[in-house]
């Protein structure tokens, strides 16, 4: 058998794995809709500069609190304008960037730090494990948003600090998940085989065992992505996250809170954006979980 045939077979195998995954994922129609919507949001975030009809920070002084209009000659804003005459649609489109960055950062921080603590706790057990897990329990025992508020109060308001604060409140879930699946995998014989070959601690932890713990972590990461967007918006709304005039979704609602009755579109559209984004990601996360969970596989 020559090598080209070998690589052809290899790619065939990979394709079969992906096909199987897609088969289970696509059985869940809601998940596919969520995925498509999410891809749309990502597209908007990347190409915000081309899609958005206006600059999000330019104030059209003649068109303050303009209601949504379609095809008008003067002051034509699809989602209306806010108290300073800025185009809501453009601000929401630019806001997707911040939300995605916030969600992504939180997930990356949680995954990297959570995996590290979880694996260390699972490998060493004993007092190291107890110390790490009790700290995580302490974080869990304070309501998430309250914890984040306290942390932002200490670190100072701002989008970056909000992301750090949210990451810390999510950390325990990742640590627990990593630790529990690590402990299950640690009893398997392939780990003993590696130990007999003389594998180092680092190799056992991160190369041998960790890849087998990833499936539940990916699902948790997806679901945390959406809650992170929600919490970033909440912190923004409370004035502890992104600061005006940054077009962050939660901040947008906060800015226009006083106009809620006189110009409802200024809060409705950012609220809808948050709702739809979070819903789409959650639907997709559900689908991922079903596709990963072998117990639900009906083969």
């Amino acid at each position: 058998m020559d090598s080209s045939a070998g690589s052809a077979r290899k790619s065939g195998i990979l394709r079969r794995d992906i096909l199987e995954f897609w088969y289970y994922f696509s059985e869940n129609k809601a998940a596919v809709i969520g995925l498509v919507f999410l891809l749309g949001i990502i597209f908007m975030a990347i190409f915000a500069g081309f899609i958005a009809p206006h600059d999000p920070t330019i104030q059209y002084r003649d068109c303050l609190e303009q209601p949504p209009t379609w095809g008008a000659e003067k002051c034509n804003f699809l989602f209306g304008t806010d108290y300073a005459g800025r185009d809501m649609l453009s601000r929401i489109i630019y806001g997707t960037r911040l939300s995605l960055i916030a969600g992504g950062m939180v997930v990356i921080l949680c995954l990297s730090i959570g995996i590290m603590f979880g694996v260390i706790a699972g490998y060493y057990r004993g007092w190291v494990d107890i110390t790490i897990m009790r700290i995580m329990d302490t974080i869990l025992s304070v309501p998430g948003l309250l914890m984040a508020l306290v942390l932002v109060a200490i670190l100072g308001p701002g989008l970056l600090n909000a992301m750090i604060a949210i990451s810390i409140t999510y950390l325990p879930y990742f640590v627990r998940l990593t630790r529990s699946s690590y402990i299950i995998e640690n009893t398997k014989e392939y780990v003993i085989a590696s130990k007999i070959s003389g594998a180092s601690k680092f190799r056992i932890m991160f190369i041998t065992i960790l890849p087998n713990c990833m499936a539940p972590l990916i699902v948790q990461a997806t679901l945390s992505f959406s809650t992170a967007i929600l919490d970033t918006a909440a912190l923004g709304f409370l004035g502890m996250g992104a600061q005006p005039p940054t077009p962050e979704w939660g901040t947008l609602i906060a800015e226009n809170r006083d106009l809620m009755l006189s110009a409802p579109w200024t809060v409705t559209f950012p609220g809808l954006a948050i709702l739809l984004a979070v819903l789409a990601i959650n639907l997709m996360g559900d689908g991922l979980r079903d596709a990963f969970d072998p117990k639900l596989k009906r083969s």
Binding site: E20, Y23, R298, S299
Partner: protein, 325 residues
Amino acid sequence: MSLLEIRNLCVDFETVSGSFRAVDGVDLDIRETDILSIVGESGSGKSVSMLAVMGLLPWTAKITADKMEFEGHNLLTISNKARRNIIGRDIAMIFQEPMSSLNPCFTVGFQIAETLKQHLHLDRKARRKRTIELLDLVGIPAPEERIRAFPHQLSGGMCQRIMIAMAIACYPKLLIADEPTTALDVTIQAQIIDLLVNLQNETGMALVLITHDMGVVAETAKRVIVMYAGQQVEQQEVEGLFNSPRHPYTNALLNALPERSLDLDRLPTIEGVVPGAGDRPDGCLFSPRCKFVQDDCRANIPPLKSTGVNALRCFHPVDPGNLGI
């Protein structure tokens, strides 16, 4: 008269990559007081065929048969309610993993009593009396105390005894034991096999023993069915099967036993693997691995020919004089 009569039983599973035939044309007659053993390697369909009789297969399984009758009840068309009256009372089953077959949340006494309540409608006092009697019958010491034990407090052998007690609680006419000793230690295995055979002798129920252990078959069964890749390839009385196997697969399987080749340098093997869903041969399913294969084996599927209790699915049976070791 047959207790259980099956003709041409087939079970198909729907999977992602199309449908897969797990059981392919099994014929079975179980008479009262029979000890029948179904032997085969993993994936031969031996458990699936019995689970089909019990109605315990998942919904992805499609069961077809020309005939599947238990004491005149047609098991193919029977309502779920009527089936539940038969299963657990007239037909009972025990499984390979005794630890996971028992519910860890309830005492063993409660679990046995539940069967008695369901099927025999005994009152509380009678249930307790019968439970203790059953535990005593399956050889559990101090049954009055053990009745309050939880499964995790008992060893694997004890749990299997509890499972047997539960299975024989309602005086079944047929007991199906699916690899009952595979998970147990050798000395405990001997105890459980002895217990099953003794119970069979005393109660006169029919016993179906599903196993892959040829030694267990040789020491317990009266009649043996050999299965390969979902098909029944041979059926014989136990002495006949071990002395003069007719199907090349049975023959090769027996030759591969370590105890049969003590003076040989190498163990005789069966080359190749059992065909999977995708690579079924056209003719006889064993033909790619068979030593005696000829052209017609590759082209046509041999039918199952029965003569009396014996049955054989092969065009060129093994000559008892030439076992090809």
